[in-house]
Point group: C2
């Protein structure tokens, strides 16, 4: 118990921003807000500017300084017009602040830039009253307002502890790449459970499905489960009763958080707050690869696309290939996608083996059916059979090709694998292989790819790493 | 049609005994009967002597001359006494006829010897009235009487055609080794369907379950199916309404006969009456073995036992090993037993492969269960994992041994495989291997083993062989 509190005290220092970071963020925010206000003056339909996100709520954690500047638009502005305007306003703004604007896409485009070490996002939303949402970002100002109104003084650090814990455990981030917990979700959980320690205690006892309804919008747990079937974690949005704030959280990420909470309480340690990003040596990777059946699909993109779009395409293609491998008769133990989010991508699969049996059983009709003699005629020259077992005919058939990478390549090229349309061309030209040496050679060029391979081969969530 | 009749005419010559065989059998039978009558005179309880079986009914086929001499006992003679007496009487009789007596076992012991090229069996039965059967052979004299009473003049050759067809197709014989059609069953089918051609026509249209009730003992097909559930072929014994004459016929043998009948009608040929017993060359076997995953278990018996007992033990052990292989994760395409019926035995299995994957998935508990942390502690040092997928923990485990023959040998030695007690010792000392060379070396010593291997590897019923 002492132990736990001591560890949490030390963890505060890890998650709290430094004075320097705080001052820097404050300065960037002030510059950005005043520049934005000036930037929209004279633009019809752009009605206001606000700071949102963790900077507005003072809940950002060390190393994650972000300024989310929202430009509010009149609902009479069309979607198209809004998209055109935010790209224009945002690009000018980032340039004016001395950054290099990059156009990003979520529900609609926004503009990102790094200013004095701080990530600045210029985002559009409609000024509407709940529940008349037009775009996905319209709720954000209400989220900020709700959290500011409910967080007690000093509770910001409790939020930071929970976010820092989630980050180090690999479950922080609602983007498709992570499928984890958003900052807003961490804030709501802190509000609901009051303190970090209490939140971790409650989480360690979670047995999905979990339902949390801060504003008591629903009569009962049953009604919540009815409204959000199949979600393992449901946190009703205090700003929109029809929305699950945890909709992006995958069952796997949820389970990882539960286990991390259990293990943390059992043996508290600041390890649970320190993200590890050690790049392994080639020798270490080689040792991990020994005797494993690892299939990889490596390809390069020819054109860029929004990060979330790319991750979605990768994950869908990974699933498509996984199903194809299983249909061919392989067992897929695990699979994962990787990309540097610019050019390089890799899908990677761990299998039971890399070859199918040379011969396989082919089932024919029962002997009493009309087509039994046709079957016999067709397979008369088989190496083994046709023979009869029970009421049925069988024959042993030979496979010309048995190697998984060649079989998969054939199917991909002939269009038999369900792959995202946007990646089809790149994957049809992909390097598909099971050779450990060439995989290590690929990885030797990139620390990020090495880290990813280590994570995949060791297959331990961050909090279980040595 | 002409074609069919012509082929059947030519087949008659193949199945009919030669004059020489006929004369020889007749002479042996006369000698045996008169010697038997003399042999039982003065033995209290032995009341009569008769000729039974195909010789009595004139339905035996060329190359299968057999004299079944039955000694009838008074029902007051005990089982033990009867067994003692038949061994004594039979042995003396065979010796007197100039043969070498061998004691055989079916339901109870009998004595076999070869006299002038004819197999003579001296068998005991009780003289009882139906349905007061004491032993399994008591029905035989009634079977003989029934067939003699129902066969029309000249129909003996129809029986011979059917028996010869069944023999060449590998389905003739009710013993455990074959699990096929007895001579009596062939006779009943001929009586029921009148001629060979008609029988084959009917059989070619059979769709199991088949019910035949010559004496109309049952009201309906449904009643027959109720009385003999799970039998694919039911021929009610005209001599005993509670007995299925086809009880020994396996589904596989039945299906083989159906298919043979279909193919024969489609393309009549005397091939369907000529048993093939060509021994293959080692080169032919080597070519068939290429790339196949063949596991064999070869052993020598230390003591003799009745043929049917041995075959039963072999087949049960084959099934036990098959289940063990499947439990270990192999797919068994086919398996078969072989023995020279004296010393050598072999069980042989065709598998999808000869090795298990080096790594396998080990499923842990869901993270929300109490024992989740124990699982994590236990497997912390695993090469891969513990990881979480969905709600559950997993880990990748390494197998020290992956070769099927070594894995099987371990399990057999440690008594984990369901093997017939009578073969346990011999199989625990068996040669278990997957090596084609050593298998070919073993086979090179015995034409019978070579034939068996050819049959197993080519896996075609006799009527589909080239």
């Amino acid at each position: 118990m002492r132990d736990l509190e001591e560890v949490v005290e030390r963890a505060r220092i890890i998650v709290r921003p430094t004075r320097l970071e705080e001052r820097r963020l404050k300065r960037v925010v002030e510059m950005a807000i005043s520049a934005a206000k000036e930037g929209i003056s004279g633009i019809v339909g752009a009605v206001d500017v606000s700071l949102e996100g963790s900077a507005a709520k003072n809940t950002w954690i060390r190393g994650r300084a972000e300024a989310d500047i929202f430009i509010h638009f009149d609902p009479r502005v069309s979607r198209e017009e809004l998209e055109r305007l935010i790209v224009e306003i945002g690009s000018n703004l980032i340039e004016e602040l001395g950054g290099e604007p990059v156009i990003m896409y979520a529900d609609h485009p926004y503009v990102e830039g790094v200013v004095d070490g701080v990530t600045v996002d210029i985002v559009a939303c409609y000024r509407v009253e709940p529940p008349n949402w037009i775009s996905a970002t319209d709720r954000t100002p209400y989220h900020t307002r709700y959290v500011l109104g409910r967080l007690k003084p000093g509770q910001e650090d409790e939020v930071r502890l929970l976010k820092g814990f989630m980050r180090a455990c690999g479950v922080y981030g609602a983007e498709i790449k992570v499928e984890g917990f958003s900052g807003y979700l961490a804030e709501l959980l802190t509000i609901y459970y009051d303190s970090f320690i209490n939140a971790i205690r409650e989480i360690s006892g979670w047995k999905p499905p979990i339902t949390i309804d801060l504003e008591g919008y629903y009569e009962s747990r049953e009604k919540i489960l009815e409204a959000f079937p199949e979600s393992p974690l449901i946190v009703v949005d205090p700003v929109d009763r029809s929305r699950n704030v945890a909709a992006a959280v995958s069952f796997t990420r949820l389970s990882e958080l539960i286990l991390a909470a259990k293990l943390f309480l059992k043996k508290p340690s600041t390890r649970f707050f320190k993200p590890s990003d050690r790049a392994p040596s080639t020798g270490e990777l080689r040792a991990l690869l020994k005797d494993r059946s690892i299939l990889y699909v490596y390809f390069r993109l020819e054109d860029r696309r929004p990060r979330d779009v790319l991750w979605g395409e990768l994950k869908r293609s990974e699933q498509g290939i996984r199903r194809c491998l299983e249909n061919m008769g392989f067992t897929v133990y695990r699979s994962i996608s990787w990309t540097d989010e610019r050019k390089e991508c890799m899908l990677i699969f761990e299998l039971d083996r890399t070859e199918l049996p040379r011969y396989y059983l082919h089932k024919g009709p029962p002997v009493y059916l009309k087509n039994a003699d046709e079957f016999v005629e067709k397979w008369r020259e088989a190496i083994a059979g046709p023979w009869i077992e029970g009421e049925r005919l069988y024959v042993l058939r030979r496979r010309e090709e048995v190697s998984v990478h060649k079989l998969l390549a054939e199917r991909i090229v002939s269009g038999q694998v369900s792959i995202s349309r946007g990646l089809m061309g790149a994957i049809q030209r992909a390097r598909i292989n099971i050779n450990a040496k060439s995989l290590l050679k690929l990885a030797s060029k990139s620390n990020d790819l090495k880290r990813f391979l280590l994570d995949f081969l060791a297959a331990k969530p961050p909090f279980l790493k040595k």
